[in-house]
């Protein structure tokens, strides 16, 4: 078939039934301020890691809430826990603990799988 150089983009559907919100729930239970995020992106703007690589805490927040954990698993290890994000957060989200808990949850998941 002739290649036209463009294609139909894949349907971008968020399937909440298939997605796993376990990690988001784990975090929310231990750090209730996780729910206060308005996804303003202040954290990503100030991020030390984000200065070097495409790391965005806002993105991670959104992915976790959607339950798309696989995309977060690797990314979350890039954070340096410096805490700048929690100082700029207008909603008082303890972002540092969110990352800490997310790492812990992934670790527990992996330990359990092994």
């Amino acid at each position: 078939m002739e290649k036209f150089g463009f294609a139909l983009s894949k349907a971008r559907v968020i399937d909440y039934d298939a997605n796993d919100r376990a990690i988001a729930d784990y975090i929310l239970e231990r750090e209730p301020s996780f729910g206060a995020c308005i996804e303003c992106g202040g954290c990503s703007a100030t991020c030390t890691t984000g200065n070097f690589t495409g790391f965005s805490l806002r993105e991670i927040h959104i992915l976790l809430k959607r339950g798309e954990n696989e995309q977060v698993r690797k990314k979350i290890r890039k954070c340096m826990l410096c805490g700048k994000c929690s100082l700029v957060c207008p909603r008082g989200v303890n972002t540092r603990n969110v990352v800490f808990l997310a790492r812990q949850a992934f670790q527990k998941e992996e330990d359990y799988a092994v």
Partner: protein, 634 residues
């Protein structure tokens, strides 16, 4: 009379505890690392031994440090410890001098009155009885205070007292019963024989007026012996293990053994030396500003001893180090907390065995399966050559006024300097360490170390005490690490920075990481005295407060941080100073919204005071050119 069955419980308890002490000491000694064993041996035959004896007398018996912080509480501890010690000492002498023969078994001394009921008739004997009564009265006065404290801690000047487990309560009851039962037993016996001094004699003759002394005394002698025996049997399972353990702790510490970063004999001895006196609870800002009173060091020690859940206790702490300063036993509380935070990565853990009478070392799987480089995205660094490096740190990038002030100071100093993280650097690694993730932190440390090595600098200046502490302690660098307050102090001393006097009234807030954390107290204050009128607050040096923003606490909510910050700010701005000065960007950021007063970093005050206008920014221009070249722009 030589023997009576009622002494059996006491004897059982006593010989059990002696045997136990020997067994546990051997286990502890065997688990010491080789260098620590050598330290201990050297300490035993050296100066440390004398020092330890002195310290044991002053701290374990007299409780000097508690007396200094809270005289009433100190008296309570002193009368129980020192009084009991005197009672045993003089009791043994009494039994030896006045008994039928010399070198008696211990029960003869403890129950002397029972075996020698008519002792105290001659003048000399009566004098000795008076002394024994006096000591018993001394102990009992402390006991009364202890009972009052248990039911109303405020009465002895404590805001909070520690909560107890059931076993602790049983041991506490048996401890409380020891001295009153001795008093009544001795009094009844004395009353029956017409002996005893002002306490036992008076009480005895009154009791004997309506009670058959000899028969009534016997059950109390049993009670006395039983409570002693129970107390000894339960001692290893309860906080009272601190009584023998503290002696080991003092001796080990004087021999030069320190906690380090792994659980081991010394941290075990420290954990068991905690008497749960509760002084750390009173000094904790989480307690008195944020109302969190479950996570203080006394509770951490208790949770470790009982194999309880330590995760939240270990992490919900500002690591300000205020409790380390006031702990009367001198336990290194923050290092122990850090060991608990690293627990996931550490290879050693202690678990209770033999119903809690002993604790076994348990080896955990050393490495985790998915430990891989997290920070491989970091670019290759090529810093410009300079003599002095300035590392602002993450927090300083959030407070640009500090960064700008430091740039002015650096330029005014005329040094060949370079700003290594001008465009945003890599974190120093301390925040990761504080979260117990040392392996990740090590990657950042290696990365930053490379930049510093490549620059060929001899001095590294940082504006952030958090960075300062980690550069100083965990980096293996061949450069002099200075906090900017020390650096400014040096510049002033050398005369390379000319400053005006500002005629401003300032108060100074010592950041935890710089003060208690790194021992830098004086340099910032000297700098401030040089340029302004520094006023004192009630919270100087070791007694300084934590702003509440500490990265040490990953769990503390925004609201609680704000509560702590506003308490601190209101304390420090009581006298309405022109500036509340600190030397930490994070403290500044935390305190600024909590007060109406102006909050400034020490560098901003100094930059304002610079006498001559800054010279042409030669170095900075050259630095920028270098950056462009290295980035391939120029």
């Amino acid at each position: 009379m030589q023997f009576d069955p009622f002494v059996i419980p006491f004897n059982l308890g006593l010989y059990f505890i002696l045997f136990y002490a020997v067994a546990r000491s051997i286990i502890w000694f065997r688990e010491l690392s080789r260098p620590d064993k050598l330290r201990l041996q050297r300490g035993f035959f050296g100066k440390a031994f004398g020092q330890s004896l002195k310290e044991i007398f002053l701290e374990s018996l007299i409780h000097r440090k508690i007396l200094k912080t809270n005289p009433l509480l100190g008296y309570m501890h002193m009368s129980l410890a020192f009084g009991w010690f005197l009672l045993i000492l003089f009791g043994t002498i009494e039994a030896d001098v006045f008994g039928e023969k010399h070198l008696n078994p211990p029960y003869k001394a403890i129950f002397f009155k029972f075996f020698n009921p008519d002792h105290g008739k001659t003048i000399f004997e009566a004098g000795y009885s008076f002394l024994m009564d006096l000591i018993l009265a001394f102990v009992l006065s402390g006991l009364i205070l202890a009972v009052i404290k248990r039911f109303s801690s405020k009465a002895v000047g404590m805001k909070k007292t520690t909560r107890l487990r059931t076993l602790d309560k049983v041991a506490l009851t048996s401890l409380w019963l020891i001295f009153p039962s001795r008093l009544i037993a001795e009094s009844l016996t004395s009353g029956a024989y017409g002996t005893g001094s002002f306490l036992t004699g008076t009480l005895g003759s009154w009791l004997a007026s309506f009670l058959p002394g000899r028969e009534a005394a016997y059950p109390f002698w049993w009670l006395y012996s039983l409570s002693l025996g129970t107390f000894f049997l339960l001692l290893p399972l309860t906080r009272y293990l601190h009584i023998p353990t503290e002696l080991f702790l003092i001796f080990m510490r004087n021999s030069g053994i320190r906690t380090g970063d792994k659980a081991g004999t010394f941290s075990e001895v420290e954990v068991h030396s905690c008497s749960s006196c509760g002084i750390c609870i009173d000094t904790c800002q989480l307690n008195f500003s944020a109302g969190i009173n479950t996570i203080q060091s006394a509770y951490l020690m208790k949770a470790i001893r009982n194999n309880g859940e330590t995760f939240e206790i270990a992490h919900n702490c500002l690591l300000c180090g205020r409790c380390d300063q006031v702990c009367p036993v001198g336990i290194e509380l923050s290092p122990i907390r850090m060991i608990q935070r690293r627990a996931g990565d550490s290879e050693i853990k202690y678990v209770n065995s033999w119903k809690g009478y002993f604790r076994n070392k348990q080896s955990l799987p050393a490495a985790r399966p998915n430990i891989r480089s997290s920070y491989d995205f970091l670019p290759e660094s090529s810093p410009s050559k300079a003599d002095v490096l300035y590392f602002a740190g993450c927090m300083t990038h959030l407070t640009p006024s500090i960064k700008n002030a430091m740039t002015r100071i650096m330029n005014a100093s005329g040094l060949n300097w370079s700003f290594i993280d001008e465009t945003g650097g890599v974190c120093c690694g301390r925040p990761l360490m504080l979260a117990g993730q040392d392996k990740e932190a090590r990657e950042l440390i290696n990365y930053n170390s490379q930049i510093i090595w490549k620059s060929g600098a001899h001095t590294l200046v940082t504006s952030c005490p958090i960075c300062y502490k980690v550069f100083k302690e965990s980096y293996y660098l061949d450069v002099e690490v200075l906090h900017h307050s020390q650096f400014i102090k040096n510049l002033i001393d050398e005369g390379s920075l000319k400053l005006n006097f500002l005629h401003k009234r300032v108060t100074y807030h010592t950041p935890c990481e710089l003060g208690r954390g790194s021992g830098v107290y004086n340099e910032p204050k000297e700098v401030l005295r040089h340029v302004s009128n520094l006023e004192t607050t009630g919270f100087e040096d070791e007694n300084s407060l934590c702003c509440g923003g500490s990265l040490g606490n990953i769990m503390l909510s925004h609201e609680n941080k704000r509560k702590i910050a506003s308490d601190v700010a209101s304390e420090l701005t009581k006298e309405n100073p022109d500036y509340l000065v600190t030397s930490c960007p994070l403290c500044k950021k935390t305190l600024a919204p909590a007060t109406k007063s102006k909050v400034a970093d020490i560098s901003e005050i100094v930059a304002e005071a610079i006498a001559s206008p800054p010279s042409v920014k030669k170095n900075s221009v050259r630095y920028k050119k270098n950056v462009r070249e290295s980035a391939g722009i120029a």
